[in-house]
């Protein structure tokens, strides 16, 4: 197949890129080695969160959040998005001071979406929170959506706009000749395009490596839990300041607990293995903060593979080693919220060679250079 743009990777970011490219009138083919949304794009926690992000991600996350609030206009489906707010809970006075400093720093930088709250306000918002909680940080317009439904909605919208999606087509070889990429796939198909987009998630560095671009991408198999259905007791998505945890209750009453404890993944097979001791640690943390869970049952546990980078922000930008290649991968367990905006950025890079969004901190060649000074992210739960 000969198209304008080939996108490698059929997760949310690949589908969003394909949608934005197709809507600009260009032919686009998505190659997915497995199935659409095989890993992070269907197995993440689905957090739609600007709260606590790395400062470099904030402008993109804020722009993307606005898109989430009108997501049905973009993809014809509400993706089960709920505006619930996200709250980061402080468990000590020192943690509350850290959150207050963060809110002040964000305001000084011109962002007003994070608000420190005291213990009384926290308890009003989270009546079931444990007594030792000292306060928190809230982003009231944040929420959550269902990842698999969201990715399928982007897929349908992309296909409606003219994109072609090919599953079971892993890229096993690529060359660039005379301004054209030539890709050979595991299903025997071959494809050419002048522009290539790498949204291969945890597998993204393999594609980069094949064209001589070494990016220090690792991967994690982040684990998640669903409890049995419980009566409603928490509305916002909850994270902690000093411990990895994300926590939310679905409309069905089931409570999802994730946030960073890892199983074992295998990039060659795609298989994951749970780690029961670490699941137990997640359960202990959740129980510390929400004692109401003491009578719940764990009904499901799973893991999905996510690409992660040493500075915990993604690689987004044009390749520095070869022309005609755009990278957008390594979202470190918190790329779901960025999905809507990232497709537009990738489309700009692929079709215009530049974007008006501030992506310099995500440059593929930033590794090895001295780290930029300034504040980082708060502890960010995966998903």
């Amino acid at each position: 197949m000969n198209v304008d743009v080939i996108v490698v990777g059929g997760g949310l970011h690949g589908m969003s890129a394909a949608l934005h490219i197709a809507r600009r009138g260009h032919s686009v083919l998505v190659l997915e080695k497995d199935r659409v949304a095989a890993h992070a794009s269907s197995y993440s926690a689905g957090g739609v969160r600007t709260l606590g992000r790395h400062p470099a991600e904030v402008p993109l996350a804020v722009e993307s959040l606005a898109m989430w609030h009108r997501i049905a206009e973009l993809v014809g489906d509400d993706c089960d998005f709920h505006e619930t707010g996200h709250v980061k809970v402080a468990e000590t006075a020192a943690e509350l001071a850290e959150l207050e400093a963060r809110a002040a720093a964000m305001r000084a930088a011109g962002w007003d979406h994070e608000e420190a709250i005291d213990a009384a306000e926290l308890r009003r918002i989270l009546p079931a929170v444990a007594p030792h909680a000292t306060g928190g940080l809230i982003a009231r317009r944040n929420g959550f959506a269902r990842p698999y439904r969201t990715t399928l909605a982007f897929q349908r919208a992309a296909e409606a706009a003219g994109a072609t999606i090919r599953e079971g087509a892993g890229v096993e070889g690529l060359d660039r000749r005379d301004g054209q990429w030539q890709l050979r796939c595991t299903d025997g198909s071959t494809h050419t395009a002048p522009m290539l987009v790498n949204t291969a998630g945890a597998w993204g560095a393999r594609l980069a490596r094949s064209v001589g671009e070494e990016i220090p991408l690792g991967f994690n198999a982040f684990m998640m839990i669903y409890t049995s259905a419980l009566p409603p007791f928490v509305t916002p998505v909850v994270g902690l300041t000093g411990r990895p945890m994300s926590f939310k209750q679905a409309e069905t009453g089931h409570v999802m607990i994730g946030g960073g404890h890892k199983g074992i993944g295998d990039l060659d097979t795609g298989a994951v293995a749970l780690d029961v001791e670490r699941l137990a640690f997640s359960a202990k943390t959740a129980l510390d903060v929400f004692p109401i869970l003491k009578d719940a049952r764990m009904v499901h546990a799973w893991a999905g593979i996510e690409g992660v980078l040493p500075d915990e922000i993604p690689v987004v930008g044009l390749s520095r080693t070869v022309p005609g290649l755009v990278h957008a991968f390594g979202f470190c367990g918190h790329g779901f919220e960025l999905g809507p905006v990232m497709g537009g950025i990738v489309a700009q890079l692929a079709l215009d060679g530049a974007t008006n969004m501030p992506i310099a901190p995500f440059a593929p060649d930033r590794f090895g250079a001295p780290a930029a000074a300034g504040p980082g992210a708060l502890l960010q739960p995966a998903g």
Binding site: K33, R35, A38, H39, S42, Y43, R146, P147, Y148, R149, G170, V171, E172, G173, L174, T186, A205, R206, L207, R209, S210, L217, G218, F219, M224, Y226, T227, S228, A229, T252, H254, H261, I264, L267, T269, G270, A271, V272, A273, L274, V276, E277, R278, L279, A280, F281, A283, K284, A286, L287, L293, K294, A296, R297, M298, V299, H300, A301, W302, G304
Partner: protein
């Protein structure tokens, strides 16, 4: 202590235990991983190590978690009950034995094989009709399915989801049975060293 474990205290498990008196007999487990079964008792959550396992209870999700191959809704076994995974056998209800007598006969055959004795006959799984999968479910829908009472319908639904996913993401079916949240939390260590990010130096397929 590793060793031989028989899971399932029905006719097959009981018959097998009579031939394998050194085996630990347990009624059921909520999760399995290579070399360990996870059980929940009044005392809490406990890991039961094994190097050989005979699974007799109708708990196919445990064998799925152990990576055993399935066909026609049943674990694939040879005439002595060996599954596709070394050291793991199956007999009785898990293979669709329709009577207590047949389950006990299968349990004896599998136990004789594990004991190194000549089996008195052969066993085979009874095929199930492959259920229609409703399409891939997301984790919340899988949780709702796993929350339904254990039984053939629940197992068939989860096996269908696993078949849609292929051998990857075996955790789609986990755990085989639900477990008390507080009991699970109680076995957590006081502190936990974070697992390092896994490195990758691989190349394209």
């Amino acid at each position: 202590m590793s060793g031989l474990v028989i899971l399932g205290a029905g006719p097959a498990g009981s018959a097998a235990a009579a031939i394998l008196p050194e085996a630990r007999l347990i009624a059921t487990a909520w999760h399995a991983e290579p070399g360990r079964l996870w059980i929940e008792t009044a005392a809490g959550v406990e890991a039961v190590p094994f190097d050989r396992l005979l699974l007799c209870a109708d708990e196919p999700l445990l064998l799925l978690a152990l990576g055993c191959a399935f066909a026609d809704g049943r674990p694939q076994v040879d005439p002595t009950g060996r599954t596709s995974q070394p050291g793991i056998h199956a007999a009785g209800a898990i293979l669709g034995a329709s009577t207590a007598e047949e389950a006990a006969r299968q349990g004896r055959i599998a136990a004789q094989s594990l004991a190194g004795l000549p089996p008195e006959g052969v066993l085979a799984a009874t095929p199930l009709a492959e259920p229609e999968a409703p399409g891939r479910l997301d984790p919340l829908s899988i949780a709702q399915l796993l929350e339904t009472p254990p039984g053939p319908a629940r197992s068939a639904g989860i096996l269908a989801q696993a078949a849609l996913r292929g051998p990857r993401l075996s955790s789609v079916a986990a755990p085989a049975r639900n477990v008390g949240f507080a009991a699970l939390a109680a076995m957590a260590p006081a502190t936990l060293t974070p697992r390092e990010t896994q490195a990758d130096t691989g190349t394209l397929a």
